[in-house]
Symmetry: C2
Subunit: 298 residues, 2 copies
């Protein structure tokens, strides 16, 4: 399983990078290979392009000792682990294109525990209803091929996870989030892997659609200002609440790879007043309303 | 004690705001009064001026119930608390002027525990040796009037506290940091309060000096770019490591007041290359060398 998954993750990174370069039309990925002192390593790939201002597509496969703190947090007793996965964050230039994030991962311990985790979610600077509906319908179609419970469960999980408690707002319009998908009465690990691969393969068609619909839309200085402020919230989520980021920084992960998720620029204004910007007002309303059902309600 | 300290903190905020408006020469503080639902409230004051791009001088006096989580973290058994203090962060426009932070606070429980905490520290975008020596000598002179152990102890404390573990660098050139200064064989609470007031009163003369020496220095686009990247690190420290920020966001503090510490803009570049900027290279060297003795070594 491990070898197959690692190979699959590498292939996924390759395929996505190729597709994104084509989509961007100008930028090419810069690759850094790195080793982890405790074991394993990765391939960090960064793009600065015409459509994507700053994007990262990371692959890693690491192994080594689990600190007691982390074993505890994961509620397992094993001392050794292996983990592989692909992580993506893309910050586009045009504020009408959303920020997108995907992660797919596989985790294994020496005592035989193994599971998959991951998800895709989207953070529009301005929420566009049709795009949100398209995105959620696409995810539902991917999930429904495996289990009709997946989409509703994993959609709720994303709503809970991508939440800025201190702002009382969601990071974006959610998507799906799942963790600890392991073997059970219903599914083999092979079937779980099939699902995770389908999620990984949905990334390109989803983002291609969102980019192609929006990349040529005109935008103003006011729109850029709003985008920088939304990016500020993205920074807040990733540095204050995101468990993956915390885990990485706590376990001496490669900082430059972990923090590729941060945007090229962000802004903060005290009591930011955006009341003149109706698209911003609409977006904030959406982010303040939790548990929107994009499929039934639209 | 409590009444006297609260009054003193209010006065300190007033005096500092008045002095900063004079120093800036153009900006005036915008004040927001707020109530805390659990008890108490504060006065948040924000300045956007000619020299100071974004600055906050906050006073608060809050009271209420201590959650078990926080009692635990503080290692006390009390259920009720009272806290008052002044917090300042100033982000100047000119990259040659440092970012400055000050906090003085008083904490009291219903079971009779009470203590002072606080400190001043400086985060230069570019380290200027003479300014660093001036700053540390000034702090030493303030401390030495009370106890010859204060400066060396509190300087080390600041070096430990203002540290970005994931970057293996200090936030800036440190300063002093102290906590839990309570009554003991040597000092009464009145004497502790005298020290804390002296720290508070040192803020204006220190920053006035640093501003006046640097505000008219010319700077380039490259210098601004470097400043935005240094501000990015400031954001990382405050959102990932700063206990005060974490405590505030965890305890439903007023988010806009807590996050006034964030700069107007910040930038992140993957593997930021600043090797052509010799002032940046010098600054990074300083931030990577811990425990610099600015007084003896210079």
């Amino acid at each position: 399983m491990k070898e197959e998954v690692e190979k699959g993750m590498r292939n996924l990174q390759d395929k996505i990078c190729e597709g994104l370069e084509k989509l961007d039309g100008e930028g090419t990925f810069q690759e850094d290979l790195w080793d982890r002192s405790g074991g394993g390593g990765g391939r960090t790939r960064i793009l600065e392009g015409r459509i994507i201002e700053k994007g990262g597509v990371n692959f890693s496969a690491v192994h080594g000792d689990l600190s007691p703190k982390i074993s505890n947090a994961l509620n397992i007793s094993s001392k050794k682990f292996y983990a592989t996965g692909v992580s993506i964050v893309l910050h586009p230039r045009n504020p009408w294109i959303p920020i997108i994030h995907m992660n797919v991962r596989y985790f294994k311990t020496d005592s035989g525990h193994q599971w998959f985790g991951g998800g895709i979610d989207v953070t529009p600077h301005y929420v566009i209803k049709d795009d949100a509906v398209f995105f959620h319908k696409y995810l539902k179609s991917v999930c429904d091929k495996f289990d009709l419970e997946y989409y509703p469960d994993f959609k709720k999980w994303a709503d809970r996870y991508f939440y800025l408690k201190h702002r009382q707002e969601t990071r974006g319009i959610g998507g799906i989030f799942f963790d600890r998908l392991s073997e059970n009465e219903k599914y083999t690990m092979k079937q779980r892997w099939g699902f995770v691969q389908s999620v990984g393969n949905s990334f390109l068609p989803i983002y291609r659609n969102l980019v192609q619909k929006n990349y040529s839309k005109p935008f103003s200085e006011e729109d850029k200002d709003w985008q920088y402020h939304r990016r500020g919230r993205y920074v807040e989520f990733n540095l204050v609440w995101d468990k993956g980021t915390k885990f990485g920084l706590d376990t001496d992960g490669r900082t430059e790879s972990i923090l590729m998720s941060l945007p090229a620029q962000a802004r903060w204004s005290y009591m930011h007043d955006y009341s003149d910007n109706e698209n911003a007002v609409f977006t904030q309303e959406i982010l303040k309303s939790s548990n929107i059902d994009w499929i039934v309600d639209n």
